[in-house]
């Protein structure tokens, strides 16, 4: 009896599902259309579009815009800048995050929860809000140490602010993961006389590999994609990462817009590659801490 009703329910559902999937399919195509259109435009010379209109049949298609963009926009330099900001920032975030999470979840002390709260709260504030104090602090601390440009307008200043911003999230995710690891493992380590560092490095860290991988993927995309901090904390354009540089290039290459499309596609490439290769880690990382603002 129950089985028949369930079967009838599924049968009706199948018809409905077909309509729904058609709708979702069309919607999905609309969703990726802007990207596809930009990609298409980047393969055509702007002159042609100017002369024949947006929908004109292409006379020449090729990667000409790409090679020109790499050459004229100095993209390799900017990509390199992105790398030397993103790599240390991700590494330090994971290092500090895992250390903090380890202490907070394995050694109880009084301010455990309030510390985690503070970290996470700071992480959610809009960056423009924190910008004034950070900017002033960078200049002041730099003056104290005798070099105004120590943090301001330096790659390390940007790395530092990324670490500060992302560490709360990393700590939160890692500490909730650590809570699922049985306490007995830690107790065994302590009984065997392992030092705190050994306990962290040889016992906990290997167990943290899955969340660390997910976080590394997420952090890489977030830090690579950010353009705000590099924009406000650096005054020298040649030091900026590619995402911040795109803003300036947008003004400069306004006369050859398809060239800019090629530049944008190159800037998007690293994150797209990371997303498609490590899609599983990416999604599990995002849902590990349930969310991030």
């Amino acid at each position: 009896m129950t089985a028949t009703i369930a079967r009838r329910y599924r049968g009706r559902q199948r018809v409905k599902d077909r309509f729904i999937s058609i709708f979702i399919c069309i919607f999905a195509l609309v969703w990726i259309f802007p990207i596809v259109w930009t990609l298409w435009s980047s393969l055509r010379p702007y002159k042609e579009i100017r002369a024949n209109g947006v929908f004109s049949v292409p006379e020449s298609i090729g990667f000409g815009n790409y090679s020109t963009a790499i050459e004229r926009m100095d993209l390799p330099t900017y990509l390199w800048n992105s790398l030397i900001i993103t790599a240390p920032a991700v590494f330090l975030t994971l290092l500090f995050g895992s250390v903090t999470a380890f202490v907070v979840s394995r050694y109880s002390f009084r301010w455990n929860v309030s510390m985690l709260l503070l970290f996470t709260a700071g992480n959610l504030l809009p960056p423009q809000l924190v910008f004034i104090p950070v900017f002033k602090a960078y200049l002041t601390v730099g003056d104290w140490l005798g070099n105004r440009r120590l943090f301001y307008d330096s790659q390390w200043g940007v790395v530092l602010i990324h670490v500060a911003f992302q560490m709360g999230f990393a700590t939160f995710v890692l500490s909730s993961y650590m809570k699922t690891i049985p306490k007995e493992i830690s107790e065994a380590a302590k009984v065997d006389g392992a030092s705190v560092f050994r306990h962290y490095w040889n016992v906990m860290l290997p167990l943290l590999r899955p969340p660390l991988a997910s976080l590394a993927v997420l952090m890489t995309t977030w830090i690579y994609n950010d353009f705000f901090w590099a924009l406000v904390l650096m005054s020298n354009d040649s030091k900026r990462p590619i995402t911040s540089a795109l803003g300036r290039l947008q003004g400069e290459f306004v006369t050859d817009y398809n060239l800019l499309a090629a530049g944008a596609m190159i800037a998007a490439l690293p994150t797209l590659i990371v997303f498609f290769i490590l899609r599983r880690q990416f999604i599990s990382g995002l849902t590990l801490g349930a969310t991030k603002g």
Partner: protein
């Protein structure tokens, strides 16, 4: 008006419009002094409200709906999941350029409308239209994000619950509203909070279109506009405080939800 503000053409423009508005109201300075607010601030508040409304009533429910349908593993659901999520992976700097391609005077949408450059619709320049442009662009990212978060939540709902509801003769909508939604309470709260935070964060979206000289006075951009450079004016700090007060509520709600399971 601080001297620094006059240097910025966008601010001057906003002020001109406000003066025009006040002239039309026929109230002038009196009203402004009486309310201790200028008309511009009221208009900003209204735009911020419209943006929040759009996020809550259209964008977020759409993301939830997509998640609900994709969760039933319709054919090609993995492709759809990626398609909706790609915009979230892209940097905002790239997003700005992509949408410029759609909406610029010789772009796709104007081409579709059959307008050439000389009488194209100015999507970015027209004050009445650009709030909608922001809404569309922000939703492009927001919906995919919500979809993915909700999808993860739905995976945790026991399928037996839905089966039971179907056998009891509940329609799809009833099942969702009375069975699925209540069991998803923690995720729902997170989604609401994220939506609030996102609508306050629209700064980034405005920035990629307009640069610092913003046409659209969202709170975030006002903070930036008034503090950029070392000659920071206190007006920027004041806007920052408003933004802080608006942000802290949702953040506290979010943290309470997150740490409830954690502490117990």
């Amino acid at each position: 008006v601080a001297a620094g503000d006059r240097d910025d053409p966008a601010v001057v423009h906003v002020l001109d419009r406000d003066q025009l508005l006040r002239h039309h109201l026929g109230r002038g300075r009196q009203l402004r002094e009486h309310l201790l607010l200028d008309a511009g601030l009221l208009r900003r508040a209204a735009q911020q409200r419209d943006l929040a409304r759009w996020f809550f009533l259209i964008a977020t429910p759409l993301g939830v709906l997509l998640a609900y349908q994709i969760d039933r593993e319709i054919r090609g659901h993995r492709f759809y999941q990626s398609a909706y999520y790609i915009p979230v992976v892209l940097s905002l700097a790239v997003t700005g350029i992509i949408w410029n391609f759609m909406l610029r005077p010789d772009g796709f949408v104007n081409g579709l409308l059959g307008r050439d450059i000389d009488n194209a619709v100015s999507f970015f320049g027209n004050y009445d239209i650009n709030i909608y442009v922001i809404m569309v662009m922000a939703s492009w990212r927001h919906i995919g994000y919500i979809m993915l978060l909700y999808l993860a939540g739905l995976k945790a709902v026991d399928p037996a619950l839905r089966e039971a509801a179907a056998i009891d003769g509940a329609t799809e909508w009833e099942t969702f509203r009375k069975v699925v939604l209540p069991t998803m309470r923690p995720v729902n709260i997170i989604i609401v909070v994220i939506t609030m935070i996102e609508s306050l964060r629209a700064f980034d979206m405005v920035y990629v279109i307009y640069g610092t000289s913003a046409g659209l006075p969202i709170l975030g951009i006002l903070v930036f506009q008034n503090i950029a450079g070392e000659g920071a004016s206190m007006k920027g700090a004041a806007y920052a405080v408003i933004l802080f007060v608006l942000s802290i509520g949702p953040i506290i709600a979010y943290l309470r939800q997150q740490f409830r399971q954690d502490v117990s």
